[in-house]
Symmetry: C2
Subunit: 336 residues, 2 copies
C-alpha cells in the first residue's frame, strides 16, 4: 500500500523503503544496476582516467522557474564532470527527506532526475534514502556523486593557462541566482525569468573536439563568474581582465540586480561554462559554442594577463578598471 506523505518508516530500510524504491524510484530512474538492489553496484569500467565529483543540493525553493532540485542535482554533477573534460557515465543519488513531504512532490522530483539523467546520458547506479523528522530538514536535500571517463589525451588544468589566453562564457550570466531570488521574493517577470539549469556535457564535448588548445573549463555556480575566475587566477598564478561591455547579461537580470544592489558577476549559474582557450583558437571555439542551443549568447569576455597575478579586474564601460575579489558575503544562501 502507498501513502500520500513520506513517513519516517520510508527511511527505515524495511518494507516501506523497499516499496518506495520499487514503486517510485525504479519507475523513473530504474536500470539493470538499481534493479539488483545490492549494497554496491558493480560496473565494468574500461577507461583509465576516471573523473569523480560530489555535490549536495539544498536549494530553496525546491521548485523554481526553469527547474527543480532534482534537475539541478543531475545537471550540477554532470557539469562538474563535463568541465574536467570527462564523459559523465554514472551518478549516485542520496536523498534526505523530511517526514511529511507529499509523495507526489517526491515523484515529480524523481521524474525530473530521471529525465535529466537520460538527457545527459548518465545512469543512476546506486541510491540511498533517509527520512528525518518533520523540522529536521527543509523538504528534501539531494546528494549526487558522478563518475566519468576522461579521454587519455584530455588534460585540463589551471596550470596550463598562459598570458594572452581568452576567456569565453557560454551564455548570459546570473540567471539562476536571479530566478531563485525571484521565486523566493515573489518577484514577477514578464516574460518569466528562468534558471539556466542545464546539462553542459554535449557542449563541452564539442568544444574539446573543436580545439586542442582549450586550457581549462569551469562552471561558475556558487559565487558566480567573478569568484570562479578568481579561483582560476589564483591557481594559474596569472591575472585576468574582463571587458564589461562584452558580458552577456539579460536585461531583466541587469535591471533587477541594479535595483537590488546585486552584481550579476557574483550570481550563480547552473548551465554556463567558462572556457579558457589560447587566443588563436578563441573565435573558433566561440563559434562552436554558439552552435549549441544553450550557447547562442556566448561571448569572449576577457583575457589572461601577466600583470596583477592572482587578481581579476574588469575594464568598465566607462574605461576605468575595477577590482573583482572573491565573493565575501553570501547574498543568497541555499542557491544550489
Amino acid at each position: 500500500m502507498m501513502y500520500d506523505k513520506i513517513l519516517l518508516n520510508h527511511g527505515a530500510g524495511g518494507l516501506k523503503t523497499q516499496r518506495l524504491i520499487r514503486q517510485i524510484f525504479q519507475k523513473h530512474i530504474g536500470n539493470a544496476y538499481l534493479q539488483q538492489e545490492l549494497d554496491a553496484a558493480v560496473i565494468k569500467f574500461s577507461s583509465h582516467k576516471m573523473a569523480v565529483s560530489t555535490d549536495s543540493f539544498v536549494v530553496h525553493p525546491i521548485f523554481f522557474p526553469g527547474g527543480n532540485i532534482g534537475k539541478m542535482a543531475v545537471c550540477g554533477t554532470v557539469n562538474d564532470l563535463a568541465v574536467m573534460g570527462a564523459k559523465p557515465l554514472y551518478l549516485t543519488l542520496g536523498l534526505i527527506i523530511e517526514e511529511g513531504l507529499p509523495i507526489t512532490i517526491l515523484e515529480q522530483i524523481i521524474a525530473s532526475i530521471g529525465e535529466t539523467a537520460r538527457e545527459a546520458g548518465v545512469l543512476i547506479v546506486a541510491g540511498d534514502t533517509k527520512v528525518v523528522e518533520h523540522g529536521a530538514c527543509d523538504k528534501i536535500y539531494i546528494n549526487t556523486t558522478g563518475i566519468g571517463a576522461v579521454p587519455l589525451n584530455v588534460d585540463l588544468r589551471p596550470q596550463k593557462i598562459s598570458p594572452g589566453d581568452k576567456i569565453i562564457v557560454s551564455g548570459s550570466i546570473g540567471n539562476h541566482g536571479m530566478a531563485i531570488l525571484a521565486a523566493r521574493e515573489g518577484l514577477d517577470f514578464s516574460p518569466p525569468l528562468e534558471s539556466d539549469c542545464a546539462n553542459l556535457n554535449y557542449l563541452t564535448e564539442s568544444v574539446l573536439a573543436a580545439s586542442v588548445n582549450v586550457k581549462c573549463m569551469r562552471d561558475p555556480t556558487r559565487g558566480g563568474v567573478a569568484t570562479t575566475l578568481n579561483e582560476l587566477a589564483y591557481q594559474a598564478n596569472l591575472g585576468m581582465k574582463l571587458w564589461e561591455e562584452q558580458l552577456p547579461i539579460d536585461s531583466q537580470v541587469k535591471g533587477t540586480s541594479s535595483m537590488l544592489g546585486l552584481d550579476p558577476l557574483y550570481l550563480a549559474n547552473e548551465g554556463k561554462v567558462l572556457i579558457i582557450v589560447s587566443s588563436k583558437d578563441a573565435e573558433k571555439v566561440l563559434k562552436e559554442v554558439q552552435k549549441s542551443e544553450i550557447g547562442k549568447k556566448a561571448s569572449i569576455i576577457g583575457e589572461v594577463t601577466e600583470s596583477h597575478p592572482t587578481k581579476l579586474v574588469m575594464e568598465t564601460e566607462l574605461g576605468t578598471l575595477r577590482m573583482l575579489n572573491m565573493l565575501e558575503g553570501d547574498p543568497l544562501p541555499r542557491i544550489c
Copy 2:
C-alpha cells in the same frame, strides 16, 4: 580569520568556504587530489570492475559511545563496498551543516573521518560543503560515496546461494542500535555499551582469500540481521533458517532489548557482516573470521533451505519455529 561557529557564508563557495577547506579539511583529510581544488578529481583507475555505493548519514546523536557520525560515514560506505568483494579505494564527502555548529565539533568529525579513512586505506578525493540556516537541518548530515575495485574472479550475488549453504555472522548483533538508543535515552551501562561501528574491508578480504565458495555477503545495518536475510532470501528465492541458540548477542543488548520489547535481530549493526558460504567451507571461513579482532564472536547462525522460499524462520531455544518478516515499523529512526 577563523570563526568559532559555522556561518551561512562558510557554504557560499567564496572566501570563507575556501578557508574552511584549507584550514580544517586539508589538515585532516588532505591529499594530492583534494589539494588541486578542481571541480572533479581525475584519478587513474586500472581495474575493470568498479564497485560504487552511496549513503547519507543523519544519525542522532552525532556523537555516541563507540563512534560519531564522521566515523560512521566512512565505515558505512567502506563496508558496502567490502561486502561486494571490492577493495575500497576512494570516497567522496558531501556535508550539509547547520548554521551555528561549533567549528570544534566540525573539526572533531572531520578528524574522525580522516582517521577512519586512513585505517580503511581509502582516499577522500572530492568534497562539497553546504550550510543551511539554523533549524533547517540537525547539526550535520554527511553523504559518502565510495568507489572500489572488484577483482575479476570475485562475483558475489544472492543468486549464487544454494540450499544447504551456511550463514555466518561476524560477531554479536544489535550493538549499534542499542548504543544509539542508550545515548538518546540516557541509559547507563556498566561497562558502557559501544556501537560496533568499524571498517570491515580487511575482514572481508581475508574471508574471500580463505574460500572461493563464499556466495554472498551483506552488512546488516538498518533493519538488522532479520531484514537483511529477508532481502537475501527474496533475491535468492530460497528459504533461510536461523538457530536462536547460535546467535551471538551481548548480555546487555539481550537484557535491555527484552526489557524494552525490542528484538536484537532488527537492531542496526555498523561493523558486522553476514556471510553465506557453502556448507563444506563454513568452518574454515568461521575460523578465518575469528582470527580478526572484530570477528572473535563470529558464529554459524543458520542455513539456507529449499523449503519456505523467500522466507526467514528461526528455530527458537524452545524448539519451536518463529517467522521473521522484514522490518515493518521503525523502532529507531535516524539510526545511521
